[in-house]
């Protein structure tokens, strides 16, 4: 192989990689373009079209997005707090204690990776009705709180922590929970960050289950709110819908741009099994 041949190869690869990248950001770029320009330009590209924020204010006024955002925020933090608490305890049990039924119970936990709560929506809806929780934010959150994935991920991390550390803490007089709190949780911080990012983005984007279990403005998260907003055929312009779309994904998108490294690495870490 000659040097020139290698360079050509590299050039072609770079070009192809860039072409695909542009194709991949095109939908987002288009949404940004229309959202910031008057409706007249939604299908007509003109570099000198006037910029405007009007689409955002129209969208914001057309639907109770402030309430939707609050609901999503409450939902996501409720799920995250619950997951951290329950998964930590369960992962600690699996990583450090010997008890009968351990293997079977762990299998049951892993089974949840396959059988997601949204597949069992018919039954879970009945449960929520029984508990009188339909159309509440806890009803959206509860099925996801005991996450098989979270338990698995934390257990893997806890198992890598050397036993000598917790024996030392035990000699110092720490209780089991003290060891968990002072040794295990601090050492697993990167895993918590990674899992937190994955969980927040997953539940921010979740749609089907919230759609089923909510039916009022007071409980709807942004995804369901947006779907209702864009389903109204009463002549809402594309540019306004795109502004609403950007608003809905905005916080996650900004978080993603800011924490890009951690975000990508967290997904990677989550993938190493």
């Amino acid at each position: 192989m000659t040097g020139a041949g290698l360079d050509l190869d590299k050039l072609l690869n770079t070009l192809a990689a860039w072409a695909l990248a542009l194709l991949w950001v095109l939908p987002l770029a288009y949404a940004v373009w229309t959202a910031f320009h008057p409706a007249a330009y939604e299908a007509r590209f003109d570099l000198f079209a006037p910029l405007t924020l009007e689409n955002f204010s129209k969208a914001w006024e057309a639907a109770p997005f402030a309430r939707y955002f609050l609901n999503t925020f409450l939902l996501v933090s409720m799920i995250l707090a619950g997951q951290f608490f329950l998964c930590t305890l369960a992962a600690f049990a699996f990583a450090r204690f010997q008890f009968p039924g351990r293997t079977i119970l762990f299998t049951l936990v892993l089974l949840q990776l396959l059988v997601m709560p949204d597949i069992l929506m018919v039954e879970n809806y009945q449960t929520m009705r029984l508990l009188n929780l339909v159309d509440t934010i806890p009803a959206i959150a509860l099925p996801y709180i005991a996450s098989g994935f979270g338990i698995f991920l934390l257990r893997q991390t806890f198992m890598t922590i050397p036993r000598e550390l917790d024996e030392a803490a035990r000699i110092e007089g720490a209780s089991f929970l003290g060891v968990l709190w002072k040794v295990y949780i601090p050492l697993a911080k990167p895993t918590y960050l990674a899992y937190g990012l994955v969980s927040v983005s997953h539940h921010w984007n979740n749609f089907l289950w919230p759609l089923i279990v909510t039916n009022s403005v007071d409980t709807r998260p942004v995804t369901v709110g947006l779907s209702i907003f864009s389903a109204i055929d009463s002549g809402i312009e594309w540019s306004v819908i795109n502004a609403a779309t950007l608003m809905t994904s905005g916080p996650l998108l900004i978080a993603f741009l800011l924490f890009q490294r951690q975000f990508v690495q967290s997904f990677m870490r989550a993938g190493i099994k």
Partner: protein, 295 residues
């Protein structure tokens, strides 16, 4: 004394597990079992309670043309999305793993769709597919002078239009797993092969690809589960139509249970979905297991 610590271990273990297990059983395991049981009963209506009807629901399912259509569509959707998005993911990962001009932009571009809510990006794609002035019609109109086509309203193209959105959404997500795997492959292997005179193509097929097999297994299991679980965009883009041409199994379950309120038949369809998922997961595991090189 040893016995005592052992007993204490048991109690601590169970106590720590208890809260998670309560939730796990309440929202996954018990519902799975009751779904199965309910599939043998009729749907309760008003004052008429559910009654045992044996396998009537299953007979109905076997004779339901919509069920078969939706199942067939779902298999087509899986076949259309999985190989392409996994293949693209490998190519993407290979590209952004090498020194490439503007690598961080390219990497970000591939990954962005993963972060966006599917329900939100469906709005954008909806516009692309709009007959007449949508992006696709503008391009095909300007380049080839094609007339406007209603991609989402045509039974022949509706599902394919949805497949395109799914591939765009998933490839970047799978890329991350391949990227992690690629970075774990020792450089010395590649260098040794290069010294032996192996070209890029040979290195990929003989070294890189076999070492990526465990990741491929993981990604494929995920992709299969996703292909039966992702329905968000259908709600915006086609609502299952026209004539169920783009309805997938989970979407059909939603329709039966929450639009027609036939919860017992919905449970029967859910059992079918669960059986299908388990068979696919087990099948994949055994199929790939022989070819996977574990370290």
């Amino acid at each position: 004394m040893r016995d005592l610590t052992l007993k204490r271990d048991w109690i601590y273990g169970w106590l720590l597990l208890l809260p998670a297990l309560v939730f796990l059983f309440a929202f996954t395991h018990i519902p799975a079992v009751t779904t199965f049981l309910n599939s043998f009963f009729s749907t309760p209506r008003g004052r008429r309670p559910a009654k045992f009807i044996g396998i009537d629901n299953y007979e109905r399912m076997i004779g339901d043309p919509v069920f078969w259509k939706v199942l067939w569509k779902n298999l087509w959707y899986a076949l259309g999305t999985i190989p392409l998005s996994v293949g693209l993911a490998i190519v993407m990962a290979l590209w952004v793993n090498e020194k490439l001009a503007g690598r961080s932009f390219v990497r970000m571009a591939y990954f962005t769709p993963t972060v966006l809510p599917l329900i939100a990006v469906a709005n954008i794609w909806m516009f692309f597919y709009t007959p007449g002035f949508g992006l696709f019609d503008q391009i095909t109109g300007a380049l080839f002078g094609w007339p406007a086509s209603n991609y989402l309203g045509n039974p022949d193209t509706a599902l394919n239009a949805i497949i395109v959105v799914t591939i765009w959404k998933e490839a970047g997500f799978f890329m991350i797993f391949y990227l992690a795997a690629l970075q774990a492959i020792p450089v010395s292997l590649k260098e040794a092969a290069q010294i032996e005179g192996a070209g890029r193509w040979t290195i990929f097929w003989r070294i890189t690809f076999p070492l990526l097999m465990p990741t491929t297994l993981f990604v494929c299991v995920n992709a299969v589960i996703n292909s039966f679980r992702l329905v968000d965009h259908i709600f915006i883009l086609t609502d299952g139509g026209p004539d169920n041409a783009s309805a997938l199994l989970l979407f059909y379950i939603y329709e039966v249970a929450f639009r027609f309120w036939e919860t017992a038949y919905g449970a029967t369809l859910t059992v079918a979905l669960l059986v299908l998922l388990s068979l696919l997961a087990i099948g994949q595991f055994f199929f790939f297991d022989r070819k996977v090189h574990y370290k």
